[in-house]
Amino acid sequence: MYDVNDRLSALAKRPGSPPSELTIAGDLRRGAAALRRRRARRASVGVAVAISTLGVAVAVLQQPASDNPVPKQHATTSKPADGRLTLIAYHGKQLPGFKVRQIPSGYVLQGSTANVLAIAEPGDHSSVDDFRRKLVVTVTEATENERIHGSPVDVGDHRGAIRTGSDGVTMLQYHAGRRLVNVQAWSNLHLTREQVVKFAEGITVTAHAVNVLG
């Protein structure tokens, strides 16, 4: 006879086999590669900041004293003092499966697959399927039993729900025909719920997108 506690603690007693040399080598290789990527990313951000600072300094020096010293385009792409991003109109190249009207300032379309669109900071070379520190859109097959949780919101003509987890990750879901569109904003973006909804209203899922089956 076992009670629940005994049966749970028995799970910890299962023997585990020691890792093979190949596994250990793989762990070291992945770790070293991640460290290289991080150092490269930091270096590129440092260079970008230096170039940006130099550019602003040159622009200020070249302008007459009576001119506005802060070029407007720099002002619109910087974060406001409260750390929140602003949404700006997007006129760049669209990616297969999705069309977007607005993106957070300072962010770029990182990439897309048949069912994921990732918007990330420039220089983010992580997988499109890695959703950390990004604004992502995914489409999934909506089923009759599909339930979405959160505060009800309207996304254009669609009914949806939005919720924010304890770690600040915001998730908006809405039905669009047979599709369930999921918009997830990682906490570092500090987007408000209204901004997430506004962003979602600018999304068009095209025929190239393929629903993930639940």
Binding site: L8, A12, L28
Partner: protein, 168 residues
Amino acid sequence: MNRDQEFEVFVRKSRARLLRVATNLTAGDPHLAEDLVQTTLVRLYVAWPRVRRTHVDAYATRTLVNSLIDQSRRPYVRRESPLDHLPERAAVVTEREDEADTDVLDALGTLPPRMRTAVVLRHVEGFSLKEAADAMNCGVGNVKSQASRGLDKIRAALSQRGETRCTT
């Protein structure tokens, strides 16, 4: 020793434990467990100069738990909702002990990630309330209530399967 040598020593010593914890945290999903362990080890490697000055095993467990929570936030995972009953398994002849483990793992799989984490850390790994709270980055009271509610749900799930031998 340099970073690689120190890290290798840690991997040799702790990988099997991490994989076991991850397997329990994922309710017996070996592929997801391996993914979580790899993610955890990458994060540890990158932060190694800072990690090596701390209690590395505790840091690793916390990172593993964070990886599970991060993974569960992905939309295609989040939309999975718990079933209101445990699915039938294919009839496989196993030894009694293994079958019991599978039943418990199935029941663990019906819990939300944080509740499952609380149950696994407290009742499988034997963490103290404080250790579990540190690993989950939340308060002791939260761990206590999540673990308690999780246990109740596991009992209910097991009894639903006709586990009459389960005594509480």
